[in-house]
Symmetry: C2
């Protein structure tokens, strides 16, 4: 097994998009692509001589619009989403227990609800250590919020403990976001340092922390969620100041 | 290529010892083993059914005694050190340009002086991303001190920029120490966040920072350096309160 791996960044929503490709077949996927960076992503693929076969999502994002539909328009790639998200634009429904393949690379979907009710993480067994893409379930020294989109703190606690913290200490964790220029963490590191979960915090402690975060209303959620439920189309209700989030509205 | 990888920790000196092994041959090395944790390391090797073929050092440490000599006494492994450290106890002299092999795994030594005048880092090309073991040259949001053992801040700056920051952004950096339960970082992360080097700091800025650290005198240096120059023997001058650092004095 060998694998091309790039960690790409979209600054407005601080989102990491992951490029995963099989160097032997030239097949590539983009995990959690963002609409604003579709052209950048296509350029990276061209520069590396790769063919985009699919986009893949960890969940229906509330903080940015996915680039999936626009990338499909440009490359005829497939669009993969957790199967619980039902929409006619989805080509491939993801379920735990059914590996998602990119050439000879296998991504193992793990059902990790709590941030949303359909959230999946993706585990790859590399020849050295495991790497897991945790989306918004587990972030570096943080985690996804649980106060909208059928989020539930106790459910998220179970997902993190049963599906992520049960992996070997050296497992690399690649999240969907970071807001402080951190790029990677490990299971051992989050078990020790995560302020909401680390040091063996109980489910009750975690739920109390999550209930008291007092977070602002997400600025893009009203159009991002319906837009992402349509694989990254631009609804009519995008406010004037956020039109840049729908840079491809005409073609969407 | 496949590789067994464990990141082991010694708490008194906050040292990471790395176990690297070829699962196909069962050959293993320990990078920067510590005297106090020799029995723990041997147990890990036994549990995994591995044979220790060598110990390997990034440099002559000043903050702990290496477990090299004691591990050799117990397993007949070879002792590898940077070749610039000349001592009769050293079996293998490491030089940049000459790969060090563990079964089919190649560690590429990179000469990274500055913390000490003989310091080497070790680069492995995994099938996914590169990983580099930076010893005390580059730590997570820090770096090794440069005020003893022929250290030199300008030299360290050049080593970090020419040998480490020139690697791809996704390269995993595994340091010899961390004091805050962090386990891994990346080239992109240190370029952005390292308070002594990040954000494109100049060599002059770095040298000024290093000159003004005002660090305490290392508590073990007076016996650790001569002891490590003999591959981890216990000199006579170990103070009473630090005898635990020479737990194997009788056998050393």
């Amino acid at each position: 097994m060998s694998m091309i791996f790039r960690q790409l960044f979209e600054a407005d929503s601080s989102t990491y998009t992951y490029l995963i490709a099989d160097p032997n077949t030239g097949e590539a996927i983009l995990l959690d692509p963002v609409m604003e960076t579709v052209e950048r992503d296509l350029q990276v693929l061209r520069d590396m001589g790769l063919t985009l076969t699919a986009t893949l999502e960890t969940h229906v994002h509330a903080d940015h619009l996915t680039g999936a539909r626009r990338l499909q328009n440009r490359t005829q790639c497939k669009i993969a989403y957790p199967a619980m998200v039902q929409a006619s634009c989805i080509d491939i429904g993801i379920r735990e227990g059914e590996p998602f393949r990119v050439g000879s690379i296998e991504l193992h979907p793990l059902f990790t609800p709590g941030h949303t009710d359909h959230h999946h993480s993706y585990l790859i067994d590399t020849p050295v250590q495991k790497m897991i893409f945790t989306g918004d379930a587990l972030l570096i020294e943080a985690c996804g919020r649980t106060d909208f989109q059928s989020g539930d703190a106790a459910t998220l606690y179970n997902s993190i403990h049963n599906k992520i913290f049960s992996l070997p200490d050296e497992t690399l964790i690649y999240p969907a976001h970071d807001y402080e220029s951190r790029f990677v963490t490990t299971v051992a590191q989050e078990k020790a340092r995560n302020p909401r979960l680390g040091g063996g915090k109980s489910k009750e402690e975690f739920v109390t922390i999550m209930e008291n975060l007092d977070l602002p209303y997400p600025r893009k959620i009203d159009f991002a969620v319906p837009g992402n439920e349509q694989c990254g189309s631009c609804p009519d209700n995008v406010p004037e100041g956020l039109k840049g989030s729908c840079a491809y509205r005409d073609q969407g």
